[in-house]
């Protein structure tokens, strides 16, 4: 086997080229020479030429002009030329090329060549690139070769048959008998080929699979022979006898045992034997064990065997070899839903793998850990997952964050834990969370009224630690805006409170507004939060006014629009400011991704009186609101049940008013448009209360058959301002009542401004309409409460 000198010279020449350009030059020259050689007749060096061309092809250069030469070489009687010709055909031709048809005849001839090595070339090429037609054409020939007495040919014919079956499914039927008989061969190569062929046949046709089920005992015998036999130098690999054959047999057994009790039973003992006897110190043994585990888990195995299999995977998890740990986790992932408890037993090891150095192992460990989270282990698992999140590779962060959120949502042991967990994730991986995290978190916070104080204090602190994590900053701004009053109170039961002044809080928001790290969305949050604070703080309203007016000329259109609208709210619509900037209602949890925008469409329907029954939970989740329910019950005594204590304490959440969504300013405009100051009712007005300078007048307007709108107007003629002015009303049981938010909550002295409040009534049973109104306000530091009953309504 002398090496091809011309070939090696050319290779040397190409390799000595110092630049790409030089190499191209050499190649071009060589190709020209090769082409010239091809045109000449038989000159004894043809195989070298083609080999040169194939080398050039491997470097990435075009070599189409060699295709016909391959065809010619294959047809040559010389073995060396055939050899290179077939190699060329496999490298340069595929079934789509026309030239491939031309070699069909040569292949056919060579299949019956007297020399087995020539036959082998043909078989090999057919199995590599045989087209469907070639396969159909030559299938009978292959079947004949399957029955030859030559093992060398038989094994090649078997794999060739596999290719044929893959190409033309129907031809499978042809090979069934031969395949069956090949199982009694002793030669491992032939046996291996037979097993592969049978596997292919069974996978293609369920009927064939049925027929081959009878071979299970034979296969079991063969495996047993391999497992318990002595050392065989021919096939031994590190103490395992022919692992390639073992794995293929195991795979075939898997297919045959699937969904079949009898077959599974027949192989049960063998599988247990392989599982326990195979040496697992080297990769090769583990390869066999792995296949065994896959088989056990796929067939109808006994529970004892299943446990054995899962335990093998558990042992794999502790293996030093990273590959084996990786394999174990992929397998456990597949069975985590079906054999959940078995996998749970190995949870500790899996969680440890989160700390592995290898990124692939980490990824698998993450997926598996998330699948193993349950209500009983949520706390400990989350601890591990959060540790993982802080040090995990960047490409896994998003997956980890969203997995943690899902787990938290499903199994959170308490709301506070849930909020803490989300905050933790936002602090560590804020940049990698999905967009809907922010509204989801906000919704969660509004739903957890008892933790408003805790949340806002925590978020305020978080804001100062890191202003770059946008989702966190957005939620923090929103909370500061909403619950700023709780923040300023400086006391909190659940956590250490921050002591801040109004200026501090406004400073914080301004920092966010001005920071170059804040996205436009974040700045929008900050601006709105600043605006909201105008009703929650007392001293620095002017500062807010100036901030808002500055942004009225901001380049960012969104911010500018908001600022302009907020300016208007300060100027023209100041009487509505309190109402507009009230506490948000509890956001209904519809589905993921829906925001408060949904609520703005139907303010009335959201707070149907029917919903607001005697249950305290249905009421606005403010402790103050609940106190009022009790009071009102006392108020009206026994005769009439106060069905709808329509209370709207200034600053507490109102289920009536549509609070302005923090997003597009469009809604805000609608709101302003919808609320005209005091609807000039043409209906007559009657004074229902007049005491201590405070006057309350009432007018009503029939809207429909049973619907009625009552307008209450209050004014203050004393010398001092009145603040905290609230009205509450109660009506007979069958009448439905809804109180709209008042236009303001304070009455300046000397009748500086009037307060208006709409009350919408529905009287379907047409009972005699009566209303009890309670007035309460603060004047000169003292609280005044009074009550008046209205028995007749003007205009009715």
């Amino acid at each position: 086997m002398s090496p091809s000198v011309p070939l090696q010279e050319m290779i040397r020449a190409i390799r000595s080229a110092r630049t790409q350009c030089e190499e191209r030059g050499v190649i071009q020259r060589e190709c020209a020479a090769i082409r010239a050689q091809f045109r000449q007749t038989d000159n004894g060096g043809r195989s070298h030429n083609l080999a040169k061309l194939l080398y050039v092809h491997m470097l990435g250069y075009p070599a189409h002009f060699g295709q016909m030469e391959c065809v010619r070489m294959i047809a040559s009687p010389r073995y060396s030329e055939k050899r290179v010709g077939y190699l060329g055909a496999m490298m340069l031709l595929d079934e789509k090329q026309d030239a491939s048809l031309l070699i069909t005849n040569s292949i056919k001839n060579d299949l019956s060549h007297s020399n087995q090595y020539v036959q082998s070339l043909a078989l090999c090429t057919l199995a590599c690139m045989g087209s469907a037609e070639m396969c159909r054409d030559l299938a009978p020939e292959i079947d004949r070769l399957l029955r030859s007495s030559n093992s060398y040919i038989k094994k090649k014919a078997a794999l060739c048959a596999v290719h044929i079956v893959r190409k033309v499914h129907d031809l499978g039927e042809l090979f069934v008998p031969s395949a069956r008989s090949l199982l009694s061969e002793k030669n491992h190569g032939v046996l291996h080929g037979a097993v592969v062929l049978i596997t292919e046949l069974c996978e293609r046709s369920p009927e064939t699979l049925e027929r081959f089920r009878k071979t299970v005992p034979d296969l079991v015998q063969i495996m047993k022979g391999l497992v318990i036999s002595g050392y065989s130098p021919d096939h031994d690999v590190a103490g395992v006898s022919d692992p390639f054959l073992q794995v293929r047999i195991l795979r075939l057994l898997r297919i045959l045992g699937r969904n079949n009790e009898a077959a599974s039973d027949a192989m049960n003992d063998l599988l247990a034997q392989v599982a326990t006897n195979t040496d697992s110190t080297k990769t090769v043994g583990n390869a066999v064990l792995y296949e065994t585990v896959l088989t056990v888990l796929d067939i109808k195995s006994e529970s004892g065997l299943r446990v054995l299999a899962v335990n093998i995977l558990g042992r794999f998890l502790l293996n030093n070899d990273r590959n084996i740990r990786y394999i174990a986790m992929t397998s456990l992932q597949k069975i985590v839903s079906t054999d959940h408890n078995a996998v749970q037993r190995h949870r500790g090891t899996i969680v440890d793998c989160l700390k592995d150095q290898d990124a692939s192992v980490k990824r698998r460990a993450l997926e598996l850990s998330l699948a193993l989270v349950s209500a009983s282990n949520i706390r400990s698992m989350m601890k591990e997952l959060l540790i993982f999140l802080s040090s995990c590779p960047p490409e896994l962060r998003a997956q980890a964050a969203s997995g943690i959120f899902n787990a938290a949502e499903r199994y959170a042991p308490s709301k506070r834990w849930h909020i803490d967990t989300i905050l933790h994730v936002l602090t560590t991986a804020g940049g990698d969370v999905r967009d809907e995290t922010v509204p989801n978190l906000i919704q969660l916070i509004t739903n957890t009224s008892e933790l408003h104080c805790y949340t806002v204090h925590k978020l305020y602190r978080a804001l100062f630690t890191d202003i770059s994590q946008q989702p966190l900053v957005q939620v923090a701004c929103w909370c500061i805006g909403e619950y700023g009053d709780l923040l300023l109170k400086g006391e909190c039961q659940e956590t250490e409170a921050v002591q801040v002044t109004e200026d501090d809080v406004l400073d914080a928001l301004e920092i966010v507004l001005q920071s170059h790290m804040s996205t436009p969305t974040t700045r929008g949050f900050a601006l709105t939060a600043t605006m909201k604070l105008s009703t929650r703080i007392t001293d620095n309203v002017d500062r807010i006014r100036s901030i808002v007016s500055i942004y009225g000329s901001c380049i960012d259109v969104e911010l500018q629009q908001r600022a302009v609208e907020y300016n208007a709210l300060f100027k023209k619509y100041d009487h509505m400011r309190a109402a507009v900037l009230e506490r948000m209602p509890v956001i209904q949890k519809n589905s993921l991704g829906q925001t408060n925008g949904e609520l703005s469409e139907e303010p009335m329907k959201e707070s149907q009186p029917g919903k607001v029954k005697q249950e305290e939970t249905a009421l606005p989740p403010q402790p103050a609101g609940q106190a009022q329910v009790v009071d009102l019950l006392d108020l009206l005594g026994g005769s009439q049940e106060p069905l709808q204590p329509g209370s709207s304490v200034g600053g507490s959440a109102s289920t009536h008013l549509t609070a302005a969504p923090t997003s597009a300013g469009g809604d805000l405009l609608d709101l302003l448009g919808g609320f005209e100051p005091t609807p000039l009712a043409p209906a007559p007005t009657v004074t229902v209360y007049e005491k201590n300078g405070v006057t309350l007048t009432l007018s009503c307007e029939q809207q429909s058959e049973s619907g009625l709108t009552v307008t209450l107007t209050a004014s203050n003629s004393t010398d001092s301002d009145i603040s905290g002015f609230t009205l509450q009303a109660a009506v007979p049981k069958s009448v439905q009542l809804q109180m709209r938010a008042p236009s303001r909550d304070s009455l300046p002295a000397h009748g500086g401004a009037k307060l208006t409040q709409l009350v919408v009534l529905n009287n379907p049973n047409k009972v005699n309409l009566k209303m009890r109104i309670r007035v309460s306000y603060t004047c000169q530091g003292s609280v005044v409460q009074d009550m008046v009953q209205v028995d007749s309504f003007p205009g009715l």
């Binding site: 010389r78 190699l87 595929d94 789509k96 590599c128 290719h163 491992h188 090769v284």
Partner: protein, 147 residues
């Protein structure tokens, strides 16, 4: 539609130069170039003691480095990666036996032999002969036929 055990086998060195390519499914020239590029980009940056298994599209990729050459195989979804490592190792052993302490230069200057050896070991993406000795014997005998 299950295909073969192996989809392809590539050998390339640390500079990304291809030394052998065997395709077990029909693949166009353009697809081949893309796969080769992707494999090189996927495998070369890998750190020494990391996992030998990767995911790429719907395939599992198994690779092992022997001296200056990377042996890289593309596997089906259901295939046994640990056994694939054994396949790669067996091929290296066969080359070693044939060339005697094989190195990259042997595979460069005698690439056609590397292919012939491969064709005695694997066929159609499946293992053809499980005995080391049998493969070597076949190679020797076939070589004697060369004129």
């Amino acid at each position: 539609n299950r295909w073969r055990k192996l989809r392809f086998l590539l050998l390339f060195n640390r500079q990304g130069k291809l030394r052998l390519q065997k395709w077990f499914v029909p693949t166009s020239d353009r697809e081949r170039k893309k796969v080769i590029r992707d494999m090189i980009m996927l495998v070369l940056p890998r750190q020494p003691r990391t996992c030998n298994f990767l995911r790429w599209k719907d395939l599992k990729i198994v690779y092992k480095r022997y001296a200056s050459l990377y042996f890289c195989a593309g596997l089906e979804e259901q295939d046994n990666e640990l056994l694939a490592l054994e396949v790669l190792h067996r091929y290296v052993e066969l080359l070693d036996k044939y060339f005697g302490n094989v190195c990259e230069l042997d595979i460069i200057f005698n690439f056609e032999k590397a292919y012939f050896i491969l064709d005695e070991f694997l066929m159609g993406g499946e293992v053809l002969e499980t005995s080391k000795f049998a493969v070597n014997v076949s190679m020797e005998q076939a070589d004697t036929l060369q004129e």
